[in-house]
Every structure is written in structure tokens, then in C-alpha cells.
Amino acid sequence: MTKRTSQSVRWVGQGMPRVDADGKVRGTTRYVNDVDYKGVLHGVVVRSPVARGILKGLVPDPAFDWSPIVLATAKDVPGENVVVMHDRTMPLIAEIGAEIRYRGEPVAVVAARTPELAAEAARRVRVEVEELPPLLTLQEAIAIFKATPEKLDSMKSQDIVKGDVATGFAAADEIVEAEYWAGHQEQLYLENQGLVVFPQKDGSILAEGSIQCPYFPVHELNDCLKLPPEKIRVRQTAIGGAFGGKEEYPTMLIGYAALPALKSGKPVKIAYERNEDILFTTKRHPVWVRYKTGVKKDGTLTAIECDFILDGGAYLTISDVVMFRGILHCAVAYRCENVTIRGKVARTNSFPCGAFRGFGAPQAIWGIESHVDAIAARLGRAPHEYRRQIHARPGDVTPTGQVLSKENGSTACLELALKRADFAKKLKQVSRGRLRKGQRKLYGVGLAFFAHGSAFTGDGEAKFKAKGRVELARLEGGKPVVDIRVSSTEMGQGVHTIFTQIAADALSLPPAHVRFPMADTGLVPNSGPTVASRTTMVVGNVVHRAAQDLKRQIEAFASLRFFQGAPAELRASQLVAPGAKPVPFAKVAKALLAEIGPASGFFQFELPADIRWDQATFKGDSYPGYSWSANVAEVEIDPLTCELEVKRVTAIVDVGRVINPTLAAGQVEGGLTQALGYAIMEKIGTGKNGLYDAARLQTYIIPTALDVPEYDVKFVEYPYSFAPPGGKGLGELPMDGLAPAIANAVEAATGRRLRQIPITPESIFAALHAPQGGTP
């Protein structure tokens, strides 16, 4: 093998194989359920049998032998009975005399030596509830809102106002108004929820398991467990998918397991089977969104007025922030001087909704991208031509007043998607409800165009200041290795690989020298949760900078130790200094470890000083950067049965610098497939009994390999230059826009606009046979 020059050793930008591939392919990776925890008790949550009522009593069956069982109730909560997320309303576990607000709300936790005994014990607790009438669905809440808006029980409201919509509507030639609905969606990670809580001798707890954001429980359970952050240690085991479903929910699960663990002094494991996991964990928020838009004959959007209401379920948890991200995506991709967006989170007596890839943005984009097609149709304009006219581009001002920088590849995404999909030509072939010559199926093509804000909303990152270290602290098999110490979790998305690439480049070392141990709050600084499409952009930058810091320390040491003070540089695994013989990195590193001890590079993320954000008025720079995408979907509908098949999807994506093209393309295809399910299959709702009505894999339908269309995924790169290596958010963007692209394609195929997803044969049938379906 020829020796590479330093220039050629660039790992960023290469499709390096995943560092975790071997164990996952061979099946040697150990998930929490693969570990044989000695002496562990198995916990089972006892739940409310009704959706709403007053908890009157918990009666253990006197005929049952309770001696081997640990039974924990609200009385066993060490501190204040509250899980502190974005408010303080949700108890960890319902108290006698208090109101039960959703079916399945925990009322007790039992633990025993076997899962079977624990399950039997759970069945032997009689839960007495005085029932009250529940409000179960968003449909009921919206009916109330439409009759009397102020009667809607909204847990959080937020408006975005730009200009004056009244002026905008007065200037309009046409008003286009419509409503759009979307239901729940289940994350359906491969590995169910599961974790173990170990009580420690000093009264602290250690939790490990399938946990997406280890630092969340550290700061959310303090009041409830009466433990300061340093006494709650959390670490991840290998995670078999999360998609947001293991973002905030494991906090509650740790809380449930902690009660019998602290009571008994023994470790307690709670692991859900699939049915329990679907029934009693968070889903994507259902949405109702109403757009009223004013438009001039020349196409100028003069006003966008929008009501965006999410079904938050019974407690707020993190739904306020989901709604914020939602309203920030309701109109961000188009030029309009007058915008009013009103966001709300409706309270219903259903399971609290939570984080799911996209986090409010897919719901917003589902509405606006359907609606822009509707406006184009009203104007008699082709959907792509119309988007060419009104789409946001560098220099434009968003609804919150943010000026889009040059680092937004919006136009490039739109144009390349139209070109690669041959959109204009295909649009001429669409059926519009009647088979054309040679067509056996109704054909449609649809477009969606959208942005996804990268990282925390507003000045969240500026306030949070993500921290991370890159350390040279140990030998492995006699060779020095560098450890990445950040709290980002690997859950299948590839962060262990891309951070290895970033660190390797920053250090000028091959990836074989770099390790990324799994996140453990006892060992890593808080670089924030693995959410919000922030990891590559924000924490990737932290890793880059911290690795550079470590590199400088190694170079300084080498300079003194090996080069008599001459400036040294770590380059391609060697320390080099002018006129001196290079010294291998391994030799320098060993000397450093032996003579000084571990070296640690550190960085704390900062945003540019000119970032402005006002959380009260929602004005300013709502995201540090934006990723962009355009999706084109081609569909065929069998006129015989209304069966819908998505044949081909073109997705052009600007996520800034692409760190690993292979993994990035895989993540886009995976996200598109999840969006495909959201668009045409995945249907689950709160039934009359308060339970989700499709809580098994038999009834909750997600796409199989045979349902996946042909994908054409291409990247255009507009890097976020402030934070090298310049990635922007990727994780959520592919989930955002395929549903409306498909709905737009269905409209082109059938001539009917469907305003509710999933779009199924049943809903296409209903639209085609409705007396007056589908306008505008």
C-alpha cells in the first residue's frame, strides 16, 4: 500500500463502513434483554382501567401471596410526586383521590423474581376508579374549538406574527382555505422499551437500558426521587432504534422501576413486550391544521393565516416544544409578508404524545405542502412552477424575521428534484381521474418542498452550550486509543461512525485509533440529547473542536519531548517538525501517557454572537441553520380497487456537508420509508375504550420491503460553515415531506384532494364516491 499524504486522508465525505456493523451483523451486540442481570427483580406497571376518573383505591387480592412481591404505589415516591418535563403537572404515579387522566396511567408498580410472577401480582391488584366522562380524541377537541375557540383546553399556546394578515387578505384576489388532519404514528423501533435501575449503597441510582437521551432523567426525576443530578447516573446499552420514542419516555420508565428498586434495595428491570409497548408509550401527535391564504392573480402570497392544533394527550410532557417546531415549519419555506400562525396543544384523555422523528414538522409540512398545491390549482398554475415563484431562498425573511443566509440550498433542491424526476413532463401524463390512452392505472406525480430547522429552536443551543471531550487516556492491546466522550447515543443512525470520521480527520489519525464508548452520564459531559437533528451539526462540531484541542496538546508535548521545542504537527499518524525525523503517533502517545498522564481535549459549543431570539414573541433566528429537501412521488392507483402504490420517489436533500454519503443515503431512504407508512398505511387511534386500536404488529401496518418504491436520493451540499465540518440536520428531514408529495400525486391521479392521512384504498374510494369530493 502506498503511503498516503496528509491531504488524501480525509474520512469526512467517505462512505466508511459502520463501526458497529460487525456486532450487529453477527448478532453479538448485546441489547438490554440479552443481558442476564443477576438478582434482578422484574417490574410490571399496574395501570388505570379507564381513561378518566377518580382513583378511589388499590386493593391487593388477600388470596394472593404477596410475600415475594414488592408493591410500590404513590406513597413510595420519595419526594414530590411529579415528573418535571416542561411543566409540573404530571405525577410519576397516580395518587388515591387524584384524577386519572388516561387509560393505562400508572397507579402502582409491582416487582418480583420472575416476569410471570410480577404480571400475576399486577393482575391481583384491584384498581378502583370512579369513572368520569373522557374526551378521547382530537376530533372531539376540534369540534369544541370550532364551536367556541376559547373552550378548547389548550395546555400551551403560541403565536407567530409577521406583518398584518388583514392587510394581506385585503390585497388578495383569491382566498384559499382548507383543513388538514393527520393521526397518531407509532415509532415502532425494532427493540422494545427496556431498562434496569440499580439502587446504590449511597442512596443514588444507576439506570441502564435502551435510552436515547441519558441526561434527561438526570434532570427530570430529582424532585420525585429526591435525588440531585449527580445521584442519578444513566447509561445507554445498545439501542435497537428509537426515532424519538426513547427520548422522554424512558424518564418515566426509570421512575417506575426506581420505586420498587429503592423500596427493596434490589435492581429492578422493566422491559415491555410489543403489545404493551404500543399500548402504553408515546406516539406522534395527531394534528388538525387550518390554512387561510390570500393570493394575488400573479401568485404573490399576500397572507398566510394558520391554526395548528396538536393532540397532546393527557399531560403536556414535551408537547409545547413539538408544537413550537410545528408552527415554525408552517410557513417557513415560502415568501409571504403577512403571516399569523396560532399553535395550540389540546388536552385529551389519551396517552401523552411525545417525540417522534420530525417533532411537529411533518404535521406542519403535511398541511402547507398540500395547501400550496391547492393554491396553485386555484390559480391554474403547475405546482412546480408555482413553487419556483414563491419558495424561500437566501436573503428572504422567515415568519419569525430570520434572514436566510447563503447556506440554504433551497433552490438547488427544488430544481434538481424537478430535473431528476422529469417532473414537468410527467405532470402532463397524470390521469386526473380518467385513464389516459395506454394507462391501466391512474397515474399521478406530486411534489413537496420543505425545510427542517437544525438543532434546538431559537437560542436553545446558545443557552445549552453543548460540551464534549476527546481524550487520549488509555492503551488498548498496547496501542494508544482516543476516546470520544459526548452524550450522543448510537441508536442505529450512525453517530458512532460519523463522529469517528470527524475525530479522525481533526486528529489526522486513522479511524482505527478512535473509540466511541456508549454514553454514560457518569463519564461524559452533557453534550445534549440525541434529538432535533442537532447531533451532526452541533455535537459533531464539538467533537471536531475537542479533537483539535487534543491534537494541539499532543503536538505541544511532542514539541518539547521529541523536537527540542520546535513546533510539531500531528499529520497522518506522525508527529513532524521541520528538519527532524518524524515520530510515530503511537510512540508520542505512549510517552505522553507514561510521563504526564491522560490528555483531554474539550470544547463547549457556542452560536455566533449575532444570533437573536425572543422566546416570548417568537421573533428572531428560529434555528441556527436549515436543511432543505424536495420530494417527488409518483403513484399508481388501480381503478378497480382504489389500491395505491407509490412507484418512485425522488428526494434531493441539502444537509450541508455530508459526513458519510452511504449512511446519509441510508438514513434518507429509511426516513422516506417511515414517511411512506405515515402517508399510506400507519393508522392508529384512541378507541372508545381509551386504548390504541392497532396495538399489535398484525394490526399496525408499516411498509415491508415489497412496499418500498424505487428511490432516487441525491445530496446538494450547502455546509453550515460556522460549525465545521459543516453538517446540518439530517435525521428528521426525510420524514417531513413525503406524505404531502403523495397526497399531491393522488390528487393528480384522481382529481380529488385527500386532506387526511393515511391515504388508504378506503379513503380514496370514499373521496371518489363522495357527492362532491376534493376541492380546492
Binding site: P115, E116, A119, E273, N275, L640, T641, C642, E643, M681, D693, A694, R696, Q698, T699, I701, P703, T704, A705, L706, D707, P761, E762, F765, A766, H769
Partner: protein
């Protein structure tokens, strides 16, 4: 919940041994073939029986025999075997097509024709295709073998005509001869799908006239059903676009589907007629 109940499973080596076990209440067990329905049901909370008797791979149940007028398919024949048994495809093409839509490859490798029939789900993929052959089921017990017409086999929701001491031995299916068969399943997706509606048909057309028509639907009633009124309406009539329109409407007027998690009653009613149209348009 993990399945931890113990279950006493017997593995008889021959049919004779199996029917002897089933003859007595003391030794009788739930008949277990590929397990693709039962294992899922047990995992989902259906009570697990104390005893089971495995008929998986019983030699007498695994044969396919071809006679001049009919074929006999053993109850233990898997969907995968049927799918790949090219020598019988031309005799019962609808059944073969149906077998190829069961679950996915893994399920097809374990699931059996007899198990699919005995499970008696209204959505059983092979039932309509069996029904349109006009064939029968052979049931074995210690007292011998009796033949029950398929039309009388599914007696109610998840009910079959077999007695507790009987084992499904085989399906005796008249060859289609000059008739044409068609199978179409509307599922929830392209694989691993339970049907919303499905149809099988066996129709004999001579010189433009329908001599006989057998049409069966699944997932629209408590049992798989033949559309007797539509069949009677079609028999003896000249095939024409008008006739197809009328047959579609008649089918839609005849069926009484329900709504459930997979589909709506309205869609099922409409699609029932559409699948009748599909059968007739493809003659």
C-alpha cells in the same frame, strides 16, 4: 407476556397413531401443524391448551396426488410446497396464487393448507380458492374417513364441520378443466398482509356463454362464502359489459360485510363487486 405455560405436545409418527390419540378425551390435544396461527394466538393471550398433538410432517398428510379428474392435496402440505409444485398449477391456479400470498416466505414454509382451513379465519387466504373448486375435505378418525363438501365445511365464525376426534386428512379438488380461475387479494400491504377482501373464481365459458360460475369471497362474512346469487345469475348468460355491470352490482347488494381495524364496511361492499368484475373482465 412470555409464554411460559407448559404444554404437553405429542408427536405421533403415523396418522393411525394420531387418530388414536384424538379418539379419547384423555389423550386428545389441540392439533398443531405449522403453528403459524396458533403460536401467534397463544402469544397474544389466547388460552394455551394443556395438550397438543403435532400433525406436522405426518407422512399421510403430506402427499399430493393427481387423478384424471381431480387432485388430492394432503392437509399437511405447506404453502411453500404448493407455491412451488408446478405440476399442479394448471389444475388449481387460484389456490396456488392464494398460497403465494400467505404472509411471507417464512410463514409459507411452515403454514399448511389444512392448518389454514382448520383455523377457519374468515380471512384465511386459501379458503375462497378451495371453495370455488366445488371439492371436499377428507376427515380421518379411528372410525375411518369421511368426506365433507367444502361448501359445508366452514360452519360459522372460526367453526368447522370436523368433530373433535377428527383430523383433516386431505382436500379432494376437481381439476378446473376448461374453466378459468382467478384469485385476487386486497391486503393491507404487499406482504405480511391479512386481506381486506379477496376473491377466487372458477368460471367456464363456452362460445361466449357462461356455462358455470363459482365465485367465493373472503373477509366479508363470518366465514368464507360462495356468491350463490351471483353464480346463479351468471349461469347460462352471454358474457357482456352489461352483464359484468349487473354482476358487480348484484354482488354488492348481496354481501353484508362489517367494519373492523383493517377496512370499512362500505369499501368491502364496493370491492366485493369490483373483484367479481375483475373475475369476469379477465375471462
Amino acid at each position: 407476556m412470555k409464554i411460559t405455560e407448559t404444554i404437553d405436545i405429542r408427536f405421533p409418527k403415523t396418522l393411525a397413531e394420531a387418530v388414536r390419540l384424538q379418539a379419547s378425551e384423555k389423550t386428545r390435544g389441540k392439533l398443531l401443524a405449522g403453528g403459524t396461527d396458533l403460536m401467534v394466538q397463544w402469544a397474544a393471550g389466547v388460552p394455551i391448551p394443556k395438550r397438543a398433538v403435532s400433525v406436522w410432517n405426518l407422512p399421510e398428510l403430506c402427499a399430493i396426488e393427481v387423478f384424471p379428474d381431480r387432485i388430492e392435496i394432503g392437509a399437511g402440505v405447506t404453502h411453500a410446497f404448493l407455491r412451488d409444485a408446478v405440476q399442479i398449477h394448471r389444475h388449481v391456479p387460484a389456490l396456488i396464487a392464494a398460497a403465494a400470498t400467505v404472509g411471507a416466505k417464512q410463514i409459507q414454509a411452515r403454514g399448511t393448507l389444512g392448518g389454514n382451513a382448520a383455523n377457519a379465519s374468515p380471512a384465511g387466504d386459501t379458503a375462497p380458492a378451495l371453495l370455488v373448486t366445488g371439492g371436499s375435505v377428507l376427515l380421518a378418525s379411528v372410525s375411518g374417513t369421511r368426506e365433507v363438501p367444502l361448501a359445508e365445511f366452514w360452519t360459522g365464525y372460526r367453526q368447522i364441520a370436523a368433530r373433535a376426534d377428527e383430523i383433516i386428512l386431505a382436500f379432494r379438488l376437481p381439476k378446473k378443466g376448461k374453466a378459468q380461475e382467478r384469485f385476487r387479494k386486497i391486503g393491507t400491504r404487499q406482504a405480511q398482509a391479512i386481506s381486506k377482501v379477496m376473491a377466487a373464481s372458477r368460471i367456464l365459458v363456452e362460445k361466449g356463454t357462461i356455462r358455470s360460475a363459482a365465485i367465493a369471497l373472503g373477509s366479508i362474512a363470518p366465514t368464507p362464502v360462495r356468491l350463490a346469487e351471483v353464480e346463479a345469475f351468471l349461469a347460462g348468460k352471454k358474457l357482456s359489459p352489461k352483464l359484468i355491470d349487473e354482476a358487480e352490482k348484484l354482488a354488492q347488494a348481496t354481501v353484508q360485510p362489517i367494519a373492523d381495524i383493517r377496512s370499512t364496511a362500505e369499501y368491502r361492499r364496493w370491492a366485493s363487486g369490483r373483484l367479481v368484475r375483475d373475475a369476469l373482465e379477465n375471462l
